[in-house]
Symmetry: C2
Subunit: 220 residues, 2 copies
DNA sequence: CAACTATTCAATTAAACTATTGAATAGTTT
DNA sequence: AAACTATTCAATAGTTTAATTGAATAGTTG
């Protein structure tokens, strides 16, 4: 085989994968699917697009072999095609956070508005948990919590936080986490907790990153 | 700031980066730039496109802050904007090699035609080098060798191999490496060496991967 | 300063991408 | 089987992308 033929084929194939990821909605879908499997309607709801549009984007991801499907009744559940898909997405995300000042700026601005500027890294949280210095709450929906969560975390979905807030110890720092650095449940939780007088912070990333770093997890 | 406003901005910015990488020529350019800095004309030459076209693709990469430039006389040298750019590109490449059977197939097919099917991993090579069981040749151009190479490797650019082939010990295995898994210099070298009766293999990846794994390197 | 080289810019055309809309299909419930 | 839900398909229009061509610019050399 000719050198050029070979290179053209390989880089074309790779570009196809990258192209499948090169859309804001599809990136958001990939990040969502890092939490587990979701139906088309759930994905459309979470990402604020129409069902037909979500379906189309999902076809593109499926075509590129980045996601897989599983039918259950008249619903079709989508999930990531493997850990390497998540790792590639994470590498792109980290690149963006590191290189694109605008992303950092928007994150700062959002967190300022929620008073959740102060964040903990996974390492910092892991150490504090060993010393039992902190209460950790997972503010994702229960379904995602059940598929896997930080060992020792309490599940208080963000909608239920205001009713259950009395259950939390006031004398200890509370750390909230959710899906990842762009997930806003944790910021909402921190805002509410601080209003009620808690010393609250958010984890800078989320559950998938914790898991990949092989820190202690639990599954229900 | 509204949740949706925040997400839209962040994912849009990320998609811009990914879009900048979502073209076969630009991926090939990024892989080339992982070796060091190159002028527009050199990049055009290496990737088989016209100067004007190379310039346009480079503008796209620069716009996305994936590469940086440095003028020297009437030439402009381009280089990667940081290690995180290379790491993101590598994550995408590994994803492709793992998930897309077609890429694996094309690589196999090409290496069959060069009789370079048998490859060594970096770990395997590092161990063999410790035991001095093997001769390692870096078949990239001298300029790239000088910017950094595997410690103990000989530089024999692939065009000079046929004249210098007599200098190599016949009683030892010879391992050739170049820029990465898609670089064909090493395959060309293995083909030539085997024709001359050497026991030759190629490294499965290339210099940048060796360096990132923090295996021993040298610079001239 | 004229001739030359390297790079960038601008305009064009063809192709690909995206969101929207409404219809079609697959499966469930009554 | 009819009504319903979830998903996919197909067609459309507006936008973006890519390669080509030739001209413009920046810098060097004789």
């Amino acid at each position: 085989m000719e050198k050029r033929t070979f290179k053209n084929k390989v880089y074309q194939q790779l570009a196809n994968i990258v192209k499948a990821m090169s859309n804001p909605h599809r990136l958001e879908i990939l990040e969502l699917l890092a939490q587990g499997q979701f139906s088309v309607a759930e994905i459309a709801e979470e990402t604020d697009i129409t069902g037909a549009n979500a379906s189309q984007h999902l076809q593109v991801l499926k075509q590129a072999q980045l996601v897989e499907t599983q039918r259950d009744g008249n619903r079709v559940y989508y999930q990531l095609a493997g850990l390497s898909v998540y790792k590639a997405w994470k590498a792109l995300r980290d690149l963006g956070i590191e290189r694109i000042a605008e992303i950092e700026r928007v994150m700062q601005q959002f967190r300022e508005s929620r008073q959740s500027l102060e964040t903990l890294t996974s390492e910092e949280l892991a150490e504090k948990m060993q010393n039992e210095e902190t209460t950790v709450i997972d503010v994702r929906p229960q379904q995602e919590f059940d598929e896997g969560h930080i060992a020792g975390a309490l599940n208080i979905p963000v909608e239920e936080l205001s009713e259950k807030i009395e259950e939390l110890p006031k004398n200890q720092e509370v750390v909230a986490y959710c899906r990842g650095p762009f997930c806003v449940f944790a910021d909402d939780a921190v805002e509410l907790l601080r209003e009620k007088g808690f010393n609250a912070k958010r984890l800078d990333e989320g559950y998938p990153e914790w898991m990949i770093e092989e820190l202690p997890i639990e599954q229900s």
